[in-house]
Amino acid sequence: MRISFLLHNAYGIGGTIRTTFNLACALAERHDVEIVSVFRHRDRPTMGAPAGVTMKHLVDLRKKSPGYDGDDPLARLPAKVFPRGDGRHRQYSRLTDARIAAHLASLDADIVVGTRPGLNVHIARQARRGVVRVGQEHLTLDSHGYRLRREIGHRYALLDAVTTVTEADARAYRERLKLPGVRIEAVANSVPAPGVAPADCTAKWVVAAGRLTRVKRYDLLIKAFSKVAAARPDWRLRIYGSGDATGNEKQALRDLIEERGLHNHVFLMGPANPLEPEWVKGSVAAVTSSLESFGMTIVEAMRCGLPVVSTDCPHGPREIIDDGVDGLLVPVGDVDAIADALLRLIGDDELRRSAGRAALVSSARFDPAPIAEHHEALFTELVARGESGRSRGALREALHRGRSSLYDGAYALRYVAADLIRRGRKSG
């Protein structure tokens, strides 16, 4: 198969980029794979170019590059095709509308795979006839605002398939959006085997890692560790990570550590890349989030041989952890339950070691090879179905496009109205 991925920016750092690289790399062993990055701001991908994969870009943001596109007047006009409800809308423009449209109209591929809602909408509207269209959802339906949910509920009808990273999210797509004929399937994210030997679970450290943002609820973890340190002062906690564009809790967490007198027990380590050598310095991993679209850090810690104590938050943790076997699930927001679960693993060397070994074994199912096989089987089936399904598809598509133009008109009118209202408010 010729497989073409469409990615927001293959040259940055992030979970979607890493997952797409892992998948593309694994598929490239048997297929022609390209990654098309809408933006390019660096010469080389920060996360390392995936072996055997062709890299392309559509809009060049390297100021020193002869192909620099930043001065194009179209780049200053807001995007019309890329949906406003997608959080990245401000980075898109009339220029990306045109470049992505031209790319999708001339695709030399059997299947095109979008990696965020805005790009999935582009693919639904603009991919040339005859190419199988897949939209990947790396977040969750719940995490999208009303505006985006409404738009994808309409546009995704022209995709051949939508993949989510959890069964729970796949159910949400099936039950809450009306997408007849669109295959909706959960395929987990992949995590490669770490480049270090697994932890032996003897070090007296608990490790957590993630962005220092509100949703990760490290405040709960620190409060829980107050109880842990009182019972087991020989154990300590390291939290890796830094804030991001959505927030930085570092000072608040620092204040909490001071307030609880935990300066000898809890350490904010700052960012670390790669994380594997940091996980194996610990014997228990902790995740106290109120929301995990998938739960990448849980799988990463398990692949390093650590049992994970995680909140049973939507959506990922309970699909990854076998409670009581390779980790422990605790209710969301419950400080005592987090502390008790940590103390249970800390206090029982044999349980901790056996759960660590079980984590190592069970997390192998997230290796890029089986995950890529799952995607590959789905892609193969969709491409095979493509030939016979196409004629029906053409009729469905024509009807849908008719309705879409009405939708576009109404959509545009609504925004004109909304803009006028906003301007009115400002001037008043």
């Binding site: 098309v36 010469d43 080389r44 170019a49 062709t54 890299m55 392309k56 870009h57 559509l58 060049d60 192909g67 470049r99 031209a102 790319h103 001339s106 480049g195 270090v196 030997a197 932890a199 070090a203 007296k204 450290w205 620092r254 550590i257 001071e258 007198g261 300066h263 000898n264 350490f267 904010l268 380590m269 700052g270 790669p274 594997e276 050598p277 194996v280 310095k281």
Partner: protein, 268 residues
């Protein structure tokens, strides 16, 4: 419309580092085809013969990467050692497996610490300490209502004798405060009142008091540091409660060299 990426450029040499419990470090180097026959470690700012170490590089074999080993017995002066290939190209840090460095408690002899770390501009360097004797700081406790901090730690290569004291020395060296030290065997502990450190501190100037330990009357004092783990720069990670005292903020801190200090800042 879409532009293929230009051909892959010259890959940078990269070294995975594995720390052994005896203090040795194994470097697995990958990257360009011709890596040369040695891995060069050079002490930053050093110009003498002892400031360069050339480690033989075993050529790659059957999929195994080229390998160099820094033996535990090698004597590296305190400081930052940068890693280069034979042709002088800076080596990038790969995976640094330093798990054995966490919570280290060396048995005997001079304390030699080597922590491979990524520099701010993304190169591989080695942070080295060499101390004989050595005073390792441990937990810090605070009696905030009394305006003091307590330090506990462990001595290596020395024992407490008669009249052991901890000294707070103003960095410029013109003033010293001493408090008695207690302890048994290798363990030591002392309580340092903040009052004298904040006195006459003057307005508008920050003061940094270095902490030293003199194990016995007449013995040579040694710096109190925290170096027996994998955290090569503790300044922003080991952070302690601040206290207001006589118009000043007082708190212990670690320097970029992991030496324990007390910082006195005029409260704004």
């Amino acid at each position: 419309m879409s532009t293929p990426t230009t051909a892959e450029e010259h890959p940078a040499p990269r070294a995975d580092c594995l720390a052994a419990s005896d203090g040795g470090i194994t470097f697995d180097v990958s990257g360009p085809a011709a890596l040369g026959t040695v891995l060069v470690l050079r002490r930053r700012g050093g110009k003498g013969a002892a400031d360069e170490l050339r480690l033989p590089l075993t050529p790659p074999d059957d999929g195994a990467p080229a390998r160099a080993v820094l033996p535990a017995t090698a004597e590296l002066a305190e400081g930052r050692w940068d890693a280069y290939t034979e042709t002088g190209e800076a080596v990038q840090p790969g995976i640094r497996d330093l798990r054995v460095l966490v919570d280290r408690a060396p048995a005997s002899g001079p304390v030699a610490v080597r922590v491979p770390y990524p520099t701010a501009d993304g190169r591989l360097a080695l942070r080295c300490w060499r101390r004989a004797p050595h005073a390792e700081a441990g937990e810090l406790a605070f009696a905030l209502e009394r305006g003091a901090m307590s330090v506990t730690g462990v001595l290596y290569g020395a024992e407490l004798g008669d009249g052991p004291v901890a000294q707070a020395r103003l960095r410029a060296g013109e003033r010293t405060h001493e408090v008695p030290v207690t302890g048994e065997g290798g363990a030591f502990g002392f309580t340092l009142p903040y009052g004298p450190l904040a006195e006459d501190a003057g307005a508008g100037k920050e003061r940094l008091w270095e902490l030293w330990l003199r194990p016995a009357a007449g013995a040579a004092p040694m710096r109190i540091s925290r170096i027996l783990d994998d955290v090569w720069d503790k300044k922003s990670i080991f952070v302690y409660p601040k206290q207001r005292l006589a118009g000043h903020t007082v708190a212990p801190c670690y320097t970029g060299d992991n030496d324990l200090c007390v910082r006195v800042t005029p409260a704004g």
